[in-house]
């Protein structure tokens, strides 16, 4: 966690992906126009959120297996950054939708279910803060974390695809970006962007975990 090289990699990848997203040739599509470039920022937030929340869930399981409080620290901080990414995803999505779909919130199945998913994770934070006993807090919130993740996946990936009218590409009745023959050039920026922003999330989480560790040492 304290090593330097991956933070340098984070900065390099972020720089590349931001410049690439803004400057590389983008496909000229109706209605979307230049906003296609949001793909490298908005969608990236959600990919990053999924990776961070998965990590959080893994550490929740690890905590339940080991009772090592450090695993709980890692679990909660990864969840915090994941929730931050999700909120940024919702906000950027509404902003983009205002110009691409005509209104910030059109009750699109994916919008609705991602909002529900965020509420479930907000409840995780509320639940944690409602308990004062650190062991009870860690144990109950770890269990809740696993269930929250188990609802996140169908909410984001299954339910929106079962509807027959979604505005999101790749969901019910709506072809994905694959429908246009443009993907490979966008991918050259998109995947590095996903890695870069996820690494930034890991960096933020690692700083907060280290502060938590310091606090536990100082409290002892």
């Amino acid at each position: 966690m304290r090593k330097k090289w991956w933070k340098v990699l984070t900065v390099l990848l972020l720089t590349y992906s931001i410049l690439g997203a803004l400057l590389f040739d983008a496909p000229r599509l109706n209605i979307l126009n230049e906003t296609i470039r949001n793909l490298h920022f908005h969608v990236t937030m959600w990919f990053g959120m999924i990776i961070l929340l998965t990590t959080s869930m893994v550490y929740a399981i690890k905590y339940l297996r080991s009772n090592n409080i450090d695993h709980d620290h890692m679990s909660v901080e990864f969840a915090n950054v994941g929730i931050l990414f999700g909120m940024l995803g919702l906000a950027t999505g509404a902003f983009w939708a205002n110009y691409a779909w005509g209104e910030p919130w059109s009750g699109d199945p994916k919008q609705n279910s991602s909002a529900i998913a965020m509420l479930i994770y907000f409840a995780y934070l509320v639940l944690r803060n409602s308990m004062s006993d650190p062991l009870q807090k860690a144990r109950i919130s770890s269990i809740y974390n696993i269930f929250a993740f188990a609802t996140l996946i169908p909410l984001l990936f299954i339910l929106p695809r079962m509807t027959d009218s979604s505005l999101h590409p790749g969901n019910g009745g709506n072809p994905g970006f694959n429908a246009y023959d443009l993907d490979s050039r966008l991918r050259m920026v998109f995947y590095p962007a996903v890695i870069a922003w996820t690494l930034l999330g890991v960096w933020i989480a690692s700083l907060r975990i280290r502060v938590k560790r310091l606090r536990t040492v100082l409290e002892d």
């Binding site: 304290r2 933070k7 900065v11 972020l14 720089t15 931001i18 410049l19 803004l22 400057l23 930034l200 960096w203 933020i204 700083l207 280290r210 502060v211 560790r213 310091l214 040492v217 100082l218």
Partner: protein, 83 residues
């Protein structure tokens, strides 16, 4: 005395210089044949946006690195001596 003299000289020089000046007209400003530092104005000024985003991004990274340093220092103080 010196001040008055210098003001007089200045006024003289102004009127002298005005004699064989080439006037700059609106045409010169509208002249697109002469290349100027136009990069920042090309492509709908997208490079200005790029510049702004990069400034914000650089600020964020500097902030992250600073926080990283602070945490590292605290760790050296409180963690490393214990184990």
């Amino acid at each position: 005395m010196k001040k008055v003299l210098s003001i007089v000289l200045l006024c003289l020089s102004l009127s002298l210089a005005a004699q064989d000046k080439i006037e700059i007209t609106e045409k010169d400003y509208a002249n697109t044949e002469v290349p100027m530092a136009d990069v920042m104005r090309s492509n709908g000024k997208i490079y200005v946006v790029v510049g702004v985003v990069m400034v914000i991004f650089a600020g964020m990274i500097i902030f992250m690195v600073n926080t990283e340093r602070k945490v590292s220092k605290l760790e050296q103080e409180f963690l490393d001596e214990k184990g």
